[in-house]
């Protein structure tokens, strides 16, 4: 029967699409689990780092590191963390929108901006949108390593050392849960002293070989660990967002298939009814 050939073809194509989105959903689910584990794994390091740095902020070493001094902000550096791939719902859009809002605020306050992009999406956005992009990292994949980000972070830290920028911010997606990811803007430099609760244990360290050298190395790693954590967290967000987006795509495909199937059945039934009535009519005419 030649009824509804087009509809059948359409149903088939939607079914194929559904297969793909369902596969992507499952891949994203397993990658998300791995990314979350990775996110957990980075916690001990950054917690330790944070406690050391907060001790340092409260201790009064003979040497005050520039990273801890507040300066008049004339130009600010921003590290924008995005994903390399799309098809993850509104994740990157929301993040970039939040970034642009922050950038507008800085613009209004007559503060200039240096941008460092992480991930292809942020890179291509700023090349269209405009902006002073000074460094770029992309192609990190599903297992980013600290070694991958050292270069770009160094560009920003060098700029801070030279006084080209007076503050450094990190914009990334914060992983709340599988359904919720929030754009977050974190100030990396100058380092803000953490809560005062550690103050009761107040001491100063011995530095070996010298305060400056040790602090340089320590604070550089501190910033890197924060950026790394932001990237890992953003990765977990990306997979979670993709999983949710692909799930709703599969559900929508299912709805479309149901509707099309109904239209197809109706057309088929109408054709059969018509044929029967034609036969009956023909038979009646002969009699």
């Amino acid at each position: 029967m030649a009824v509804g050939k087009e509809i059948r073809t359409k149903i088939k194509s939607v079914k194929n699409t559904q297969k793909i989105t369902r596969a992507m959903e499952m891949v994203a689910a397993s990658k998300m689990r791995r990314a979350q584990e990775k996110m957990q794994a980075t916690r001990p390091y950054s917690n330790k780092m944070r406690s050391v740095v907060s001790h340092l902020a409260h201790a009064h070493p003979e040497y005050q590191h520039p990273y801890m001094q507040q300066r008049d902000v004339k130009r600010v550096g921003v590290i924008v963390v995005s994903s390399d791939r799309g098809l993850c719902g509104g994740l990157n859009t929301n993040l970039l929108r939040a970034t642009v809002v922050d950038m507008k605020e800085w613009n209004d306050a007559n503060i200039k901006i240096n941008i460092c992009t992480v991930g292809k999406k942020a890179g291509s956005f700023f090349s269209r949108f405009g902006g002073n992009v000074v460094a770029d990292i992309s192609g990190l994949g599903d297992r980013p390593e600290v070694a991958d980000i050292i270069g770009a972070v160094k560009v920003m830290l060098d700029a801070f050392d030279k006084g080209e920028i007076d503050a450094l911010h990190l914009v990334y997606n914060e992983f709340v849960n599988t359904m919720t990811q929030n754009p977050n803007n974190l100030q990396l430099l100058p380092i803000q002293a953490e809560s005062e609760k550690e103050l009761e244990h107040h001491w100063d360290y011995m530095y070996e070989p010298e305060a400056k050298e040790v602090l340089d190395a320590l604070l550089m790693r501190y910033i890197e660990s924060l950026v790394y954590q932001g990237i890992v967290e953003n990765l977990a967000c990306e997979q979670a967002a993709r999983m949710v987006a692909m799930k709703s795509a599969s559900d929508n495909a299912g709805d479309i298939i149901t509707d099309l199937q109904r239209v197809y059945n109706k057309a088929r039934q109408a054709a059969i009814t018509q044929e029967i009535s034609e036969i009956v009519g023909g038979a009646a005419a002969i009699q």
Partner: protein, 142 residues
């Protein structure tokens, strides 16, 4: 039982060791240091090498670190913040340069994209002019 000190060895990518120890040896930049419980607060830079932890049962466990930071807190806690990557000044420089170049390249690509748009517009204009000319010619020919 001898007094012990809580030792945590962590890297940016994972936790490596956590537990009590009698003594810790670490390759500080000024030479190897051995740290016993109740050591004074210390912050030092490590070079690539072996961190050895002597545990309560006298057994020694060794971990390779490619540099990092060693912190001793007065309340019997030792933390080794290990690097995951081999760090050297020139390697860092090279990485920084690469990141910069990528950004510049992205900007250049943007340039070529822009030219595309401009060329597209010029083409559209030329086509429109051609159409107008053809129409005029038809009118005159009639």
């Amino acid at each position: 039982m001898a007094t012990t000190v809580q030792v945590d060895i962590v890297s940016a990518e994972s936790e490596i060791f956590s537990g009590p120890a009698e003594m810790v040896f670490a390759p500080a930049v000024m030479g190897e240091v051995g740290i016993l419980p109740r050591h004074a607060p210390l912050l030092t830079h490590l070079k690539p090498g072996e961190v050895r932890v002597r545990k309560e049962d006298g057994e020694e466990e060794a971990f390779y670190v490619s540099g990092g930071i060693l912190e001793v807190q007065p309340h019997v806690v030792i933390t080794v913040l290990s690097d995951t990557a081999v760090r050297a000044k020139d390697i860092d420089e090279a990485a920084a340069l690469e990141a910069k170049q990528r950004a510049e390249q992205a900007l250049e690509d943007q340039g070529s994209e822009f030219e595309y748009a401009q060329a597209g517009r010029e083409l559209a204009e030329a086509v429109a002019q051609l159409h107008a000319l053809q129409r005029l010619r038809k009118k005159v020919g009639r």
